[in-house]
């Protein structure tokens, strides 16, 4: 009898646990980050501004339907956006959502007059101290991706080999640089995974 009661009590505890777990599942918020807190951070194309160097800010087109940036025919642009990540966090993965219908053919200047037959997206930072020359030593390319498909489909390209992944605000300012070439390339945004 004693054993029977113990077994029954144990069954009840297990069953209650399962019930409680089932009831608690919906409590997990939609879209909870997989790798902690608010990570990953998505920076949409709407956050990007033309660099002014190549496009004079007049060539980029923001699609209000698809939320991506492209450029007018036969031209190219450089877009940039700020990156705000928590101090002390570690960047683990860098992704970009891009669209590319331009076959890599540098000999086809009518389609792509610059050197970027692929969409190129990079996570950069600049050191802020006074040793500015040579400047190269003060800029870090933490991650870099390029479009891998030329079929006009939006796809995600990923870099998990992050250089200097530790986020150090103040000493460094972080930004994303994008090159988009021709009207058949598009950029939808970046997604940065980090651990706190």
């Amino acid at each position: 009898m004693l054993i029977h009661n113990i077994v029954r009590t144990w069954r009840t505890i297990v069953a209650c646990g399962i019930f409680a777990a089932v009831l608690l599942v919906p409590a997990a918020p939609v879209g909870a980050g997989q790798d902690g807190f608010t990570s990953p951070l998505i920076i949409p194309a709407a956050e990007f501004e033309a660099s002014g160097v190549e496009s004079l800010g007049t060539l980029d087109r923001f699609s209000t339907t698809y939320g991506y940036v492209s450029v007018v025919s036969d031209d190219y642009t450089c877009l940039m956006a700020p990156v705000y990540l928590p101090s002390g966090s570690t960047i683990t993965k860098f992704e970009a959502a891009v669209n590319d219908l331009v076959v890599e053919n540098p000999g086809s200047p009518a389609t792509c007059p610059h050197f970027y037959p692929d969409v190129e997206v990079e996570l950069m930072s600049t050191h802020m101290d006074d040793n500015i020359y040579p400047q190269d030593t003060h800029v870090v390319t933490h991650a870099s991706v390029t479009s891998t498909q030329d079929n006009g489909q939006t796809h995600i390209v990923t870099d998990t080999t992050i250089s200097e992944p530790f986020v150090n605000n103040l000493q460094q300012v972080y930004w994303v640089r994008v090159y988009v070439c021709g009207q058949f390339e598009g950029f939808q945004g970046v997604r940065i995974h980090y651990e706190e």
Binding site: P29, G33, F48, N131, I156, V173, R177, Q188
Partner: protein
């Protein structure tokens, strides 16, 4: 049956208690996105002007701004603020697209300014969508505002977009927060450095790469900086080393700034290699640009800092870079409050940092350094003069530059 009922009751009780714990701690936050954060589509750049606090156009134009909210935040209220005494109307959409997919957008909300109402004497017009329960899935979706601003059609009438305010709830039992909220633990300096300090019993460990401890590296960094105000230097050190109460500095890079449009729409450059802002060549206009400023509600600004290079000789006009930090009361648009106006001085090829301290800002208006996102919009404006690679004699062998690398806001939390 009896056991099952007891079990169900117990499970429900446990779930209710746990859920209550989770939701009781939910905190309402606000994110104010001023006009300064909006970019125009590449068309008709001559036809609009973005003053930072508001924007207006001479033709119908689309503007866009990204929305960054904590993952799993719940949007409860969104308020579009305009000035509209014209027959035309401003329309704004909150949209989202799935990251990496071609499925197009979902329109989550639509806003419309009133048309012909005025609001100039009563403050801004508000189109508010309340009692919302929009769950933010920031892991998988891009969120942005699509703003459509037409030309005002009548003489003496105005159509201006000022800002949009998002009220949202976050569950602080489950999630940390981003810089918009009051939960700044994650922004509280270099946590890894602090962990290292704890691990080795108080002495920061050395990095094998260069043999320096974290503190030594900070000190080396600080020793390189030209920060004139010793208090600003000290505050930087506290922020770097994670002294309690000092929030992480909010570092606003060059690419956060937006073109103002109109005749100045192409007066700026971002260095594609280094990220700083610079203006046009000598003889042309400087770059005037704006950026929205988002700090946690309740934060107190301790220092406004700008990291820059100014190697133009002051004897020549356009010799200085100018900086503004401004605030607008969403309930009373006139006048805006200029919390900071400062400019560079002197000549140097190196990166320098200027600073404005809290007491200087408080002298403008007491209490203004305490951030109130429920009521105010905050934005930055910079005016970066031209560069000159062929200065006149006797400086012909020099290169004169104006560059802005970043604006840094050092703030403390109560």
């Amino acid at each position: 049956m009896k056991t099952r009922n007891h079990c169900l009751l117990a499970a429900v009780s446990i779930a209710v208690v746990l859920l209550s714990c989770a939701t009781l701690e939910a905190a309402t936050q606000s994110l104010m996105i001023p006009a300064a954060s909006f970019s125009a589509d590449g068309t008709d750049q001559y036809e609009y002007y973005n003053y930072g606090d508001f924007l207006e156009t001479n033709v119908t134009l689309h503007f866009h701004a990204g929305v960054k909210l904590p993952n799993a935040a719940r949007i409860t209220n969104v308020d579009m603020m305009t000035l509209d005494d014209d027959s035309g109307t401003i329309t704004m959409y909150l949209k989202r697209t799935k990251f990496g997919f071609d499925t197009g957008h979902e329109t989550l909300l639509t806003f419309t300014s009133p048309g012909n109402i005025g609001c100039t004497t009563q403050g801004l017009c508000h189109d508010m969508e309340g009692s919302l329960d929009i769950k933010v899935d920031a892991s998988n979706f891009n969120y942005w505002f699509d703003l459509v601003v037409p030309d005002d059609t009548g003489s003496g009438t105005d159509l201006r977009f000022y800002a949009v305010r998002i009220m949202y709830e976050v569950d602080d039992l489950i999630f940390a927060d981003t810089f918009e909220s009051t939960f700044t633990d994650m922004w509280d300096s270099d946590s890894a450095a602090k962990a290292a300090t704890v691990d080795d019993g108080g002495a920061a460990s050395a990095d094998p790469a260069d043999g320096l401890t974290t503190d030594e590296r900070y000190e080396e960094f600080l020793s390189h900086l030209y920060v004139e105000d010793p208090l600003a230097h000290e505050a930087l050190e506290k922020a770097l080393k994670g002294v309690e109460g000092y929030g992480s500095p909010l570092v606003i890079p060059g690419p956060a700034f937006r073109s103002p449009g109109y005749t100045e729409f192409d007066d700026y450059y971002f260095s594609e290699s280094y990220g700083f802002i610079y203006g046009r060549p000598a003889g042309e206009d400087g770059a005037v640009m704006t950026a929205g400023l988002n700090l946690p509600n309740g934060a107190e600004i301790a220092f406004f800092m700008a990291f820059y290079v100014d190697s133009r000789r002051d004897a020549y006009i356009d010799g200085n870079i100018r900086f503004w930090l401004e605030r607008m009361d969403a309930a009373d648009i006139i006048p805006t409050l200029t919390m900071v106006y400062t400019q560079t001085s002197g000549v140097d090829d190196d990166i320098r940092a200027l600073s404005v301290n809290q007491s200087t800002m408080e002298a403008v208006e007491p209490g203004c350094t305490t951030i109130n996102n429920d009521q105010y919009t905050y934005w930055l404006t910079i005016d970066v003069g031209p560069y000159d690679l062929s200065p006149p004699d006797p400086y012909a062998d020099e290169e004169w530059w104006h560059k802005v690398y970043s604006i840094v806001i050092l703030y403390t939390m109560p």
